[in-house]
Point group: C2
Chain length 428, copies 2
């Protein structure tokens, strides 16, 4: 208490008294700052790991990845412009002083705090919805799905338990769209299922997805900002809350992964269009198993090449051919190459991690798409959402096990889930 | 800051200087205390809603349900014996004073804080596990379950996708038991499924359960303490975090529910044995559809009677007949009426809300049970858990939608889940 008061007086003196011109402060890593003697004027750059705001003093912990320990920054509350939030990146200038607390040797008396990239933790405004596992939709109308029946009836009666065929969900998106029409920003985190006969290192029959849906969003840029924010904030939280676990993986499973991850966190994600992606692939010296061609899906080999080409920074690929994507994605009305406002995020080591889009909110566009696919009757309820208070909206899904693969550097998806389910295997 | 310092001086004077004998302080509700002028010596009883501990001062918010607003208690840190945690019940004695903060008019300068019932928030030491949805166990070997197959194969080939028949989980318990052998205390929160053809107001085909499993637990008392703690802590958190939502339900759906809930929170839950329960039911003047009899299951009508008989306080029923319960429950080795260490928690309005037990950790007892049921081969892996580092352990599951029914006073379970699934209905 007394220490804080003393500091406060010091800070007030700092900020109000006229000062002689001083040499530019040296830029130090957090590690170097923590090891310094105190007294130096320095500059530190990093991310805010915690904020404790008192009436007149503000305490921040800033970490730049150079040390597990963070640097405590003490500032006059007047320096807080409301952007000093968990996860935002800052540049702090001030004087290193001996700390009155036994928690650390030195702390940084801030004279100036500049927010480099703010992080207004949008997820906190999202309502968590439990979307159903059993559904009468098959959602994307594509891919293999699981059907369910009471075990006593599976070889018997023709009558369905639910009167209609029922499936295991492949995505909570359509249900989230219902809820986003009332709660504006919603998310779900739960299991999803595919019955695909794949033995790959990045597919499971049962896997978890974080999915989000946001109303009143009019462009992909806004969706991508939430995606990038989610990836970075979640990762920084993991790194700060369980550093030992992460270190264990990085040390024994994926040496060098810490640097690769740091590289992803410190750089802005890139954005290229699908059309640009195809151009890059066509110019590549690498021989692909599947020849890249406008109108064809990107394969894992293509995704990995693109990420490498972009300097091993996550890359958003946007505006895919309409014919490649599900009926609910928003028509870009471009030509002659007709695209939709879709976005996939490709990350090092894994390839596709997120998929998202603006949704087609215009009744007649959606009606035409459904009619073209013969789905009008089945999705009448979905079409109705566009008739009553329709808003521009969009969202995305992130594969949770792939996310773990990406940050931990684990090669096989079966190693990041306690009870993996895949073709020919359902142990316990 | 200065206010806190002033208070601190005051507190020190209070606790160290010899004081003249004073009249016993009046016991006030939080509502009455908040409306008082200040200066009175009083006593308040309630639950701790928040704890903020500074070097020399401790701030508590105490609520007793008489007001949505809590009373701020300011105490010298020396009064904190480590038991002043969120959710614990306390009796605080001291002097009401004008608060230096604009957040409240008065606050209570504590002279003495007594913990009535502590609440050591055990759940915070629990590791969250995602138990699988698809399983090759049918867990309890009882009740109707859902089987799954790829939709393209459901009427075709004989080959299973997973090589073995696969089902939707009815409980994550067995998988939690695997994990509790490494993490000691674990929990899961996820969807579970029953294919029962029930149209009742408390059954769904897809519902959520909170399940917990605790190693090194040797008696039901420990399990019941966690169950009661979970119910009370979760409820107080809901009441304090979203009072408006709860009030809306209480006002328009279930008038009087607030008092009934308060009654549950303020009283210790009761404990009776199954045998005592049957005695009570047999002596009842009420005519039951199902005649109560030792060895037969309790029906909803029985459960509701028992809760009423116990003064509308939640009641634990323990030690059920061995023949009524699944193979994994621990044999009490009693006689002539052979029971297992099972526990169900019955609550007003809903009936059974939790079910739990000690698990049979003794290899030979479990082996005999499995042999008797012809399940030895299927559950060999489960039996193996008792051969390698077996420990006494136990756990429970709580139906989440029933919990919502109970605290909100909602009569039909279909009204507390956004997309209810039940026989003949799987909308969207």
């Amino acid at each position: 208490m007394l220490g804080a008061r003393g500091l406060l007086r010091g800070l007030r003196a700092c900020s109000s008294a006229p000062r002689p011109r001083r040499a530019l402060p040296a830029r130090l890593s957090v590690l170097a700052a923590l090891g310094a003697a105190g007294g130096e004027r320095i500059k530190v750059q990093g991310w805010i790991r915690s904020v404790r705001s008192q009436k007149e003093v503000l305490f921040l912990h800033v970490n730049d990845g150079s040390s597990l320990e963070s640097l405590q920054v003490v500032a006059d509350s007047s320096l807080d412009n409301g952007e000093l939030t968990f996860g935002s990146s800052v540049e702090v200038q001030g004087q290193l002083v001996q700390s009155p607390s036994r928690m650390q040797n030195v702390e940084l008396k801030a004279e100036k705090i500049e927010v480099v990239g703010n992080c207004d933790a949008k997820e906190s405004g999202f309502v968590h919805i439990h979307t159903p596992i059993i559904t009468s939709n098959d959602c994307e109308g594509a891919g293999e799905i699981f059907q369910i029946e009471p075990s006593s009836k599976i070889n018997g009666s023709d009558e369905n338990f639910f009167n209609v065929p029922a499936f295991l969900t492949v995505s909570g998106q359509l249900h989230l769209e219902v809820m986003s029409g009332a709660f504006t920003q919603v998310f779900t985190f739960g299991p999803t299922f595919r019955a695909e006969n794949s033995q790959s290192r990045r597919h499971l029959a049962e896997f978890y997805m974080v999915e989000a849906e946001i109303s009143f969003v009019e462009n992909l840029q806004d969706i991508m900002q939430v995606m990038e924010g989610l990836f970075k904030t979640a990762t920084m939280t993991v790194l700060s809350n369980c550093p030992e676990d992460v270190e264990l993986c990085h040390k024994f499973i994926a040496p060098g992964q810490k640097d690769r991850l740091d590289h992803m966190l410190k750089n802005n994600f890139l954005i290229i269009s699908y059309t640009e992606a195809i151009e890059i692939l066509k110019k590549a010296s690498q021989n692909f198993t599947f020849t890249p061609e406008w109108g064809a899906d990107l394969h894992t080999e293509h995704e990995k090449y693109l990420v490498k080409h972009c300097g091993n920074v996550p890359v958003f690929v946007i505006n895919y051919p309409l014919t490649l994507k599900p009926f609910y994605m928003r028509d870009n009305e471009d030509g002659p190459q007709h695209t939709v406002a879709a976005v996939d995020l490709l990350v090092p080591g894994v390839g596709e991690l997120f998929g998202g889009s603006l949704r087609e909110e215009r009744y007649h566009f959606l009606e035409q798409q459904l009619a073209r696919l013969g789905l009008t009757e089945v999705y009448q309820w979905y079409l109705d959402l566009r008739q009553f208070g329709s808003v521009p909206h969009g969202g995305f899904g992130m594969g949770f096990e792939r996310y773990l693969q990406c940050i931990l550097g684990v090669d096989n998806i079966k190693d990041v889930i306690p009870f993996p389910r895949f073709p020919h295997s359902c142990l316990l």
